[in-house]
């Protein structure tokens, strides 16, 4: 009621009424053309349409039919908005469902790579070889992406766990390998598109709840038992994050889409990547390790400096 047409409620029969009438005509014409456009872009309804709809009952000369039409229109807009929102969400939500873009060519190329680099340990039919490597049936493209793009596979040797190293295959070869493994056994796959979305703060809370107990609140990682390690997250890319959550490599649990929804996964990635890129406002971050690295700096730089000072003052005394 506080809009441009506020005064009209008191006196609708003045010349200003025509202006309102005009306005309503435009509104009627634009009913289907203009308002849905607003909802599709997701922008806030601007002041003008809102003012118009409010003035409408005050200048309701054209009759209740127009009101009904308006209401139907509003309903249509609402439905349209819901459909478009749902569609957007579905587009995100379904993106972790199997991706059908694996072409036959990719699969063939992946098979070629598998047979030269993986078959010795994982077997001719992905069934795994005893005392060498586990079966790859059902691990999915996400697992392949994580293991190969971080350089963990092909493995350098048997050990407590596989450490990150320089990747042996480029991005395209990784995708081909993933396509091949996926075509045989199925399993979770990496979604396409932007893997960062949503509220950074919520992502942070989810990270502290689900991830920090091993990777640490500052993403530095930590040793697990018997030489196994929860790696630091400083070098992980968006895709590797997502793939790790989907596939649960090594000691890491699997975070399926029922445990962390795709949006929550994107929020976590958003939080971690944003904080990794953030500067340290307090000076040198000392690798953000915490009290241990602070103690190191304290004893070497702090105590070292004051000890040098007392030696200096003491030396002058002699």
């Amino acid at each position: 009621m506080t809009h441009v047409h506020d005064g009209l409620d008191d006196d609708s029969s003045t010349g200003k009424g025509e202006f309102v009438q005009d306005d309503i005509d435009i509104d009627v014409d634009g009913e289907l053309g203009f308002e849905p456009a607003v909802s599709v872009t997701g922008a806030e309804p601007s002041g003008r349409p809102a003012g118009r709809s409010r003035t409408a009952p005050a200048a309701s000369k054209p009759g209740s039919r127009r009101v009904l039409r308006r209401r139907l229109g509003a309903g249509a807009v609402l439905i349209g908005a819901l459909v478009s929102m749902g569609g957007t969400y579905a587009a995100f939500a379904s993106s972790s469902a199997p991706d059908t873009s694996n072409s036959a060519g990719d699969i063939a190329a992946g098979r070629q790579l598998y047979q030269t680099s993986c078959i010795t340990c994982h077997g001719a039919n992905l069934q795994g070889v005893k005392d060498r490597a586990p079966s790859l049936l059902g691990v999915g493209g996400a697992s392949v992406y994580f293991q190969v793009s971080t350089g963990r596979m092909p493995a350098a040797g048997q050990g407590a766990d596989q450490k990150r190293k320089t990747a042996k295959f480029d991005e395209q070869q990784v995708k081909q390998l993933a396509a091949y493994i996926q075509s045989i056994g199925g399993g979770p796959q990496l979604p396409v598109g932007d893997l960062r979305a949503g509220d950074i703060a919520k992502g942070g809370d989810l990270f502290r709840l689900n991830c920090a107990s091993c990777h640490g609140t500052t993403f530095q990682g930590a040793p697990l038992s018997a030489g196994k390690v929860a790696p630091g997250l400083n070098r992980a890319t968006d895709e590797q994050f997502y793939a790790a959550m989907l596939s649960g490599p090594e000691s890491m649990p699997i975070f399926s889409d029922h445990q962390l929804t795709p949006l929550q996964k994107r929020e976590i990635i958003n939080y971690v990547q944003t904080l990794k890129a953030s500067k340290d406002p307090g000076g040198n971050g000392i690798d953000r390790i915490g009290p241990v690295s602070e103690a190191l700096v304290f004893f070497i730089a702090g105590v070292g400096a004051v000890m040098a000072a007392i030696l200096w003052i003491g030396a002058k005394a002699e």
């Binding site: 703060a201 990777h215 609140t217 040793p223 000392i286 009290p291 602070e294 003491g314």
Partner: protein, 541 residues
């Protein structure tokens, strides 16, 4: 005549007039003169306690600034401040105000960081000072009371630090608080009640931040200040100890007067300590609570360590086997041994040591002279043994970070720590004991045979001998007659003021140059000496 008397009657400078104003009313001149003329011995190791004192002053100043902006409240709020990654997250007002101090208050972050670094320095300097006092025997009669005050200061300093880093109520410190609660709970019989008493109910409750705050800003600092005052008053009363040297005795003190030399040095040193702390606060980030998140009992981070002065207890917890004792239907938690029993034993040993040593050595005399560590091998070796024990525990407190950094299995770190904790201290006892004896023997050798001059002679028989410079009168065999006195023995010719090109080099960072005319005279003298030396050589040859 009369005019001069009138002039000398009163001071003429403004400072002098002000001093007279107070002296006329308070009669200060006599006692002040006595205090300002007090003599304080000068040795670089005597300045370690000063570091703690100056850190304490820095702590008071920075801490007061922080209280203007800190909200010590457990009440929950939703953050809507400048730091985006915490937007809309529920947290305590204590944590929210810490974020505000870090991001919104002018100078807030650097003051917070200086405060935290100064806390590390406060406890660190106290501990280093304690070891100096221990290794030099400064705790002996009549100074046992000051030793006890010092120990109390260390314990209170550690508690104060713990309370302080708990205040922001972040995930890291909250985890530490949880462990502190577990330690309280592990005490037999009274544990549960102790925990309820501290937290006002079950952990975490809603009063702990408020309670820790008042303990941190009022209660403990007041006690610390009072004890520091007592500590210093005792030094003034009992006088400072000093190392034995020619001309020093048990009944005198030598050194600089408090005013002006010592005051100038101490004042300058305060600014050096403050500068080091400010540099650390500005250059190195400490306790970035915004990265840790607010405390939430459901969350925990790997690599959760306390500040360094608590880390030895973390280490003892990590190393101690998880022995669960069941007695008369009650369970003794494994945590009880490494976190309650062990520190109690360590503290008891530290409290009792001066009395124990006096009893064992049957020494009832007062001592104002220090002892060099080498001259009391058993004490020195015991101290090194304790230090080694402490260091193994300390390093084990960060054994996960070390394991990660050096790619060692955490299990190996734990077992390595357990084995080293038992083997290293006795080994270091033996090694230190032998080093002390070796140093003593070398002193005796120099007293007997003199300082090695570096001049090697060929005797007519073909034998090579090194010429030794005796330190004093010698007997018929050329052996020195100076008795071993536990003082520093010169080992190099330049310590005798002779013999090496380094003899005119003075200054710590660069040689102090004499004025040109003095230098010229010195050069001339030196040239003359060399000439005479050559002449003598020719004569003897």
């Amino acid at each position: 005549m009369s005019t001069t008397t009138r002039r000398s009657n009163g001071p003429r400078t403004p400072q002098g007039k002000a001093a007279k104003f107070f002296d006329d009313r308070l009669n200060l001149a006599g006692p002040m003169r006595k205090q300002l003329n007090k003599v304080f011995p000068d040795h670089w190791t005597f300045m370690m306690g000063e570091i703690a004192l100056y850190s304490f002053i820095v702590l008071l100043l920075t801490g007061t600034y922080l209280t203007f902006f800190f909200d010590p409240s457990s009440a929950e709020t939703v953050y809507h401040g400048r730091y985006l990654p915490m937007q809309g997250i529920p947290m305590s007002r204590a944590y929210a105000s810490t974020l505000n101090i870090s991001f919104d208050v002018r100078g807030g972050l650097i003051i917070r960081q200086i405060h935290h670094w100064a806390a590390l320095m406060f406890v660190g300097a106290m501990l280093i000072h304690m070891f100096r006092v221990f290794f030099t025997g400064a705790f002996r009669k009549p100074r046992e009371l000051n030793w006890l005050i010092g120990l109390t200061l260390i314990v209170l300093g550690i508690i104060e630090g713990f309370a302080g880093y708990t205040l922001p109520d972040d995930l890291l410190s909250g985890t530490g608080l949880r462990i502190a609660d577990a330690i309280m709970l592990s005490i037999p019989v009274i544990g549960t009640w102790v925990s309820f008493l501290v937290f006002g109910g079950t952990f975490p409750g809603d009063v702990i931040i408020e309670r820790f705050y008042i303990a941190h800003v009022l209660l403990i600092p007041a006690i610390l200040a009072a004890l520091i005052g007592a500590h210093l008053a005792l030094i003034v009363r009992q006088k400072h100890t000093e190392f034995p040297a020619p001309g020093r005795s048990e009944h005198t003190v030598s050194g600089e007067r408090v005013f002006p030399t010592y005051a100038a040095k101490a004042g300058g040193f305060f600014f050096i300590v403050a500068a080091v702390l400010a540099a650390l606060g500005g250059l190195a980030q400490i306790n970035p609570v915004w990265l840790f998140g607010p405390y939430n009992p459901a969350q925990v981070s790997s690599g959760s360590q306390p500040d360094w002065y608590m880390m030895f207890l973390d280490g003892s917890t990590r190393l101690f086997p998880s022995w669960e004792v069941r007695l008369w239907g009650h369970t003794l938690a494994p945590l009880f041994w490494p976190t309650v029993v062990l520190p109690t034993i360590l503290l008891t040993l530290a409290i009792g040591y001066p009395f124990l040593e006096a009893k064992m050595t049957r020494d009832t005399l007062p001592h104002n002279m220090l002892q060099r560590p080498r001259d009391v091998p058993v004490r020195t070796a015991l101290g090194v043994m304790a230090l080694t024990f402490y260091l193994v525990l300390f390093l084990s407190g960060g054994n996960d970070i070390i394991a990660k950094a050096f790619d060692i299995s955490l299990n190996a770190m734990t077992w390595g720590g357990r084995i080293l904790l038992l083997i290293l201290p006795p080994l270091f006892y033996i090694v230190t004991y032998r080093i002390c004896l070796g140093l003593q023997r070398h002193d005796r050798e120099v007293l007997e045979h003199g300082v090695e001059t570096g001049i090697v002679k060929v005797l007519p028989t073909g034998e090579f001998i090194e010429v030794h410079q005796p330190l004093g009168p010698v007997d018929a065999h050329g052996h020195g007659r100076l008795a071993y006195a536990g003082t520093q023995v010169p080992k190099r010719m330049n310590q005798l003021g002779a013999g090496t090109p380094l003899r005119h080099v003075r200054g710590f960072f660069y040689p102090v140059k004499e004025k040109p005319e003095i230098q010229a005279a010195l050069d001339e003298l030196e040239a003359l000496e060399v000439d005479q030396h050559d002449v003598q050589h020719q004569l003897t040859d």
